[in-house]
């Protein structure tokens, strides 16, 4: 007779994903459980690996531009901006002021679209069905502006190396202004639904805590770092694309938990509206394309350029050997790096909390796996 009975708790290994609605894609997490308590996790990733960095080495600089949209596909414009800035750095050119202003508007609009998708799905994972409909309704308005501007809604390829391909369309400014006016009260509406909702607070408060020290250890950036109280945003720390001209605040939290990360992202959407309003009020006249040759051929060298994407620091490390193709194009993906902290955030917690924590990480598997 074994001296254990079925009442003894032994470790249970539970597989979650890759096909699981709350993993936001194809993330597989192996959970080690003691009853409902998580003893450890292991992430299995790579299901969406397409070898984007290898593709870059076999395309010209301009040809690779659309590929970056397919990494973090809910924030394609941010991806494109980072890549264009990196190649522009290698070429030592800058986009003209008009292009920079339009870039800021579209990137902030994309940040809102990305945060809206995060909010809707995060709430859905927790069990609140309503917000996702509202979020997607407003996201639609943002996507309509993208569609009108460049013809695509998701993988937009909105920017070109050196500036923009398209002038803004007739009525662009007015539509952005209308969006800002429409959107700000909506953020309050979402907050009314969630911020003081007892279930929402109960599921989020003190869940998935990652302190500032731990964030730095794990290289976690973006809203997660800010919710831990670190007032750091690349748009302020190392401004690019003219962000130094706009007034905005960096929202921070104190408790470094899932609830604070929710509050930080909500405030970020308001700040994005603030930036867009300033930018759209003052779009300089002039060309939208800088002095970049038809054939993009940077001198031998390398550059690392990073931007504040909705998920955190998105960096491109591009090495040129003097030819028309990147010799190496490394993407520093915020989702990949942030996901590494999952184990630290859920260990010792309850199995139900892992869904909340994956939601708060705001990962996109296309970017994790590249």
């Amino acid at each position: 007779m074994p001296d254990t009975t079925f009442l003894d708790s032994t470790e249970l290994v539970l597989n979650m994903g890759p096909q699981h609605p709350s993993t936001h894609g194809v993330l597989r997490v192996i959970l080690k459980l003691d009853g409902e308590k998580i003893m450890g996790t292991e992430c299995i990733i790579g299901y969406l690996h397409r070898g984007v960095e290898k593709i870059a080495e076999n395309r010209t600089y301009a040809q690779f531009n659309p590929y970056v949209d397919r990494m973090d596909y809910v924030a394609a414009i941010s991806n494109g901006l980072g890549y264009c800035l990196a190649v522009e750095k290698l070429l030592n050119v800058e986009a003209p002021p008009r292009a920079q202003a339009v870039r800021v508007i579209l990137t902030e609009l994309n940040r809102i679209a990305s945060h809206l998708l995060w909010l809707g799905t995060h709430a859905l994972d927790i069990g609140a069905i309503t917000p996702v409909f509202y979020c997607l309704r407003e996201r639609e308005e943002a996507l309509k502006i993208f569609e009108k501007y460049c013809g695509a809604r998701l993988t937009t390829h909105a920017f070109r190396i050196g500036g923009l391909l398209y002038e803004t369309y007739e009525g662009f400014e007015q539509e952005v202004r209308d969006f800002c006016d429409m959107f700000l009260p909506k953020v309050d509406e979402y907050e009314e639904l969630l911020t003081s909702n007892r279930i929402w607070v109960g599921r989020l408060k003190n869940i998935g805590v990652l302190t500032a020290e731990e964030c730095k250890e794990y290289g976690v950036t973006g809203p997660m770092l800010r919710a831990a109280g670190v007032k750091w945003d690349l748009r302020k720390a190392q401004p690019y694309s003219g962000y130094e001209k706009y007034e905005f605040d960096i929202p921070t939290g104190q408790n470094a938990d899932t609830y604070d990360r929710y509050l930080v992202r909500m405030e970020e959407m308001r700040q994005s509206v603030r930036i867009m309003r300033q930018a759209v009020a003052n779009i300089p006249e002039g060309p939208v394309m800088g002095k970049v040759g038809k054939v993009i051929k940077p001198a031998v060298g390398e550059a690392y350029v990073s931007i504040e994407a909705p998920k955190g620091e998105l960096g491109y490390y591009v090495v040129s050997d003097g030819s028309t193709q990147p010799y190496r194009c490394r993407v520093r993906p915020p989702s990949f790096v942030n996901l590494q902290a999952l184990d630290r955030m859920v260990r010792g917690g309850l199995v139900a909390d892992i869904v909340a924590v994956i939601g708060t990480l705001d990962i996109v598997l296309g970017e994790v796996d590249r």
Binding site: G46, H49, K216, G219, W232, V300, R332, R370
Partner: protein
């Protein structure tokens, strides 16, 4: 065409320690002129990065501390980088973290230069919140060399080094979990090496696991 004696010249990698001669001039790297490919290329771009020496309190401190294990301190396009001997990279990272506030390891990656004796560039990017400054630590390692892991200094290095192993086959010594991360564990080959063609794949793996002749 005097250039033709150098085969495949346009791909010739910058020699290690290249650039505008870093302060401790390394004997191994006399800046070589660019060699053009078979066809006559009128304006020859310089084959090495036109980096300029970088001199600051930090570099002086590092040179004093590490001597000739710091090979080069340079700046290119306003971005600073430090080249170290392979065995010094992690020690430098640790020193930068503890003594100079570079407490955030942004990225670890590699670049393959198959024609160079030290085949890989291993690149660490670190950032300091206190200084708002970013520095790249580079080191040149030969095929088969097992660099020390940086996990003991920055926990982020865990997955980042696993990805470097997956893509380049560089094994990190002392890494707690040296496995592939993006590709399947039994995949053969390391795709970001330059001798791995873009159409290449692990045929056996694809046939066995996906039941198709080819993924192409």
């Amino acid at each position: 065409m005097a250039d033709e004696q150098k085969p495949g010249g346009s791909e010739a990698p910058p020699p290690p320690g290249g650039g505008a001669a870093g302060p401790p001039a390394k004997p191994a790297a006399p800046p070589k002129p660019a060699a053009a490919a078979g066809h006559p290329a009128p304006p020859k771009p310089p084959a090495t990065m036109a980096a300029t020496p970088w001199d600051s309190d930090l570099t002086r401190e590092l040179k004093e501390r590490f001597g000739d294990r710091i090979v080069e301190t340079s700046t290119y396009l306003g971005q600073n980088f430090i080249v170290t001997k392979p065995d010094a990279a992690v020690t430098v990272l640790e020193y930068l973290k503890l003594e100079a506030d570079f407490d955030y390891l942004v990225d670890v990656t590699a670049v393959d230069w198959p024609k160079r004796p030290e085949r890989f560039d291993l690149v660490y990017i670190v950032y300091s919140f206190a200084r708002n400054e970013r520095v790249r630590i580079k080191t040149y390692i030969a095929e088969g060399h097992k660099p020390e892991t940086a996990v003991g200094v920055h926990l982020t290095a865990n997955w980042l080094e696993r990805e470097v192993f997956d893509m380049f086959g560089i094994e990190f010594d002392g890494h707690p979990d040296m496995r592939r991360i993006l590709l399947p564990e039994d995949w053969q080959g390391h795709p970001l090496r330059k001798d791995y063609s873009i159409l290449q794949q692990d045929q056996r793996w694809v046939q066995e696991n996906m039941n198709i002749e080819s993924g192409q």
